[in-house]
């Protein structure tokens, strides 16, 4: 099947500066694709070119089989956009806002069903500007969905949410997957990308610096893990078995071991501790988080 989004050699220059310096992207139907990158990395520029808001300097862009620069009403009928920042429609309730937007489309979704999908049924008759920040964002998502798009752009959908509102929003986005929608998500939250995305691309300095699943991005699956624990009183680092001693870096009895073979080392550690009859209640084995990987990928060269 033809990809929903296909980008080849996309470039956008402002004067001498390349905001986007030749990127390739491919997004398949039904995927939740997360696009990550620090501010000023070319993320918003790329998204706005895909949405048809901005022109490009060079490259091929195809969204649902159409060049967004020539996107007409028939194309917009199939694309949903949830902007990073947009105010509520003044003077209209949640339902009225959706009625207004629903009239713009030829085959919109059912209004009440869409309100229920974003969990605003009880607020349907509240004036949109009176909603809380999280509720307003969910209304934004509903407005982006009302046309029943095949592809939906979500630009930082949960920025400024409290943790429970973010969970609710994630359920809504998970729901889109079940509806068979393709989702282009931009976010600053690594846990969000990890929770939702099938695939992630990281842009930095106008270029894609890594692409992969949340588990494999930037070689995360092959990166060293860290084993942490605190030695009980009376036990020193010198008492550890030799193969662990070599890896250890310690401070006040706290030990952190970095290892490519976590299971081997945890096994040796467990054997040693059990033989001595000591427990390590704060034992912790951690893979590098997506955030660690991301920060490494997007680090500015010093």
């Amino acid at each position: 099947m033809e990809p929903v989004v296909s980008v080849r050699g996309l470039r956008k220059s402002y004067g001498q500066v390349d905001a986007v310096a030749g990127i390739d992207l491919e997004i398949e139907s039904g995927e939740i694709f997360a696009f990550l990158g620090p501010n000023g990395a070319g993320k918003t520029t790329t998204v706005e070119i895909l949405e048809g808001f901005r022109t490009r300097t060079a490259g091929e862009v195809n969204v649902l089989g159409v060049d967004p620069a020539d996107g007409d009403a028939a194309w917009r009928d199939r694309v949903g956009v949830v902007l990073q920042e947009s105010n509520a429609e003044p003077g209209l309730t949640v339902r009225e806002s959706l009625q207004l937007y629903s009239g713009y489309y030829r085959e919109p979704r059912d209004i009440d069903e869409t309100i229920a999908l974003v969990g605003l049924t009880e607020k349907a008759d509240t004036l949109a500007p009176q909603l809380s920040g999280g509720q307003r964002r969910r209304l934004d998502v509903a407005l982006g969905l009302i046309g029943d798009p095949e592809l939906i752009f979500l630009d930082e959908p949960t920025t400024g949410f409290d943790p429970s509102a973010r969970r609710t929003a994630w359920h809504v986005i998970e729901g889109l997957r079940e509806l068979g929608k393709t989702v282009f998500l931009t976010t600053h939250y690594m846990d969000e990308a990890e929770e939702l995305a099938d695939r992630i691309a990281v842009i930095a300095g106008g270029q894609i610096v890594a692409e992969g699943t949340p588990g494999t991005l930037g070689g995360r699956n092959r990166m060293a893990s860290t084993i942490r624990f605190t030695l009980p009183e009376g036990t020193g680092a010198d008492d550890l078995p030799p193969e662990l001693r070599a890896l250890s870096a310690r401070a006040d009895g706290r030990v952190a071991l970095t290892t490519q073979t976590p299971l081997v080392h945890v096994g040796a550690l467990a054997e040693w501790a059990l033989a001595r009859g000591i427990d390590l209640p704060d034992l912790d084995v951690r893979r590098p988080t997506l955030e660690d990987v991301y920060l490494e990928l997007t680090e500015e060269p010093a």
Binding site: E51, G52, F53, A73, A74, R76, D77, V79, G80, V81, L83, E85, S86, N87, E89, P90, G91, L92, E96, Q99, L100, Y101, S102, G103, Y104, Y105, R106, E107, P108, L127, D140, L143, G144, G147
Partner: protein, 264 residues
């Protein structure tokens, strides 16, 4: 259910106007400045000058102020209100969000203009009613056609001028002071607040360049007792049309859907 979009552009313009009107009616500030303030002005000016005779004409002050304040009301409903709301919609990302839907730009503009025309006609009718009931100014029936025609042309002209002006305003905080800075002097020199016969000739020449005086004059021609026919003076309508063309040109060349704050 067939949607407005599926029923064609006219249905879509009506759809847009219906929601624009609802939004307007729920905005207390817009309601006050557009619906209440013109009536308050009419009562005040008649209270001050009621029995005097003012020129040119000469005519009674009450008969003079109804058409002048009607012009102010049309400008409030079309220009002032539109500049403020369009600027706020642009900076708040509402225009950008609408742009991302299949709705054509012409429908958004048309719906907004239709709302302004509708509100203008209602306010002008209320002012005529007040003039009739409170000040006994009787309007020839034929004049009604001229008044309605002038209100529609004036409203559309000031709508497009509003779109044009909004393109040079950076943010919504600047919108209100900007429109007032432009309109207040024009109201004073265009015979809205004071009869412009009392102005020095050079100031009257300045006023005659701008559309405010011609809108007021357009109303006055239809309103003057004993006006001939429907009282449309084509030179006034012509000046309004020229301004409308200037407004359309500027708006088309400069209009932006995206917030200026973000694109700067």
């Amino acid at each position: 259910m067939t949607t407005a979009a599926a029923r064609g552009p006219v249905a879509l313009v009506l759809h847009q106007a219906r929601f624009d009107l609802r939004s307007f009616l729920r905005n207390q500030q817009a309601r006050f400045f557009t619906l209440a303030l013109p009536v308050i002005f009419l009562v005040i000016f008649n209270g001050v000058f009621g029995n005097r005779v003012v020129g040119p004409g000469p005519m009674k002050a009450s008969a003079y102020y109804v058409p002048g304040i009607a012009a102010l009301a049309v400008i409030a409903a079309s220009f002032v209100n539109l500049v403020i709301s369009i600027t706020a919609q642009r900076e708040g990302g509402i225009l950008k969000r609408r742009r991302a839907t299949p709705v054509p730009a012409s429908v958004l503009v048309g719906g907004r203009a239709l709302t302004a025309v509708g509100i203008s006609l209602v306010v002008v009718a209320v002012l005529l009613g007040v003039g009739r009931v409170a000040y006994g100014v009787k309007l020839p029936t034929a004049g009604l056609i001229g008044i309605a025609f002038t209100a529609i042309v004036g409203s559309i002209t000031f709508c497009v001028l509003g779109y044009a002006l909004s393109t040079v305003i950076k943010n919504e905080d600047a919108a209100q002071p900007m429109v007032q800075a432009i309109m207040l002097p024009l109201y004073f020199i265009s015979g809205i607040f004071i009869p412009n016969i009392s102005l020095p000739p050079w100031l009257r020449h300045v006023a005659s360049v701008f559309p405010v005086q011609h809108l007021a004059a357009g109303f006055r021609h239809s309103y003057v007792p004993g006006a001939h026919g429907i009282g449309i003076v084509w030179s006034d309508i012509g000046v309004l049309a020229i301004w409308a063309l200037i407004g359309i040109t500027v708006a088309i060349l400069r209009f932006s859907w995206l917030p200026k704050a973000a694109s700067a």
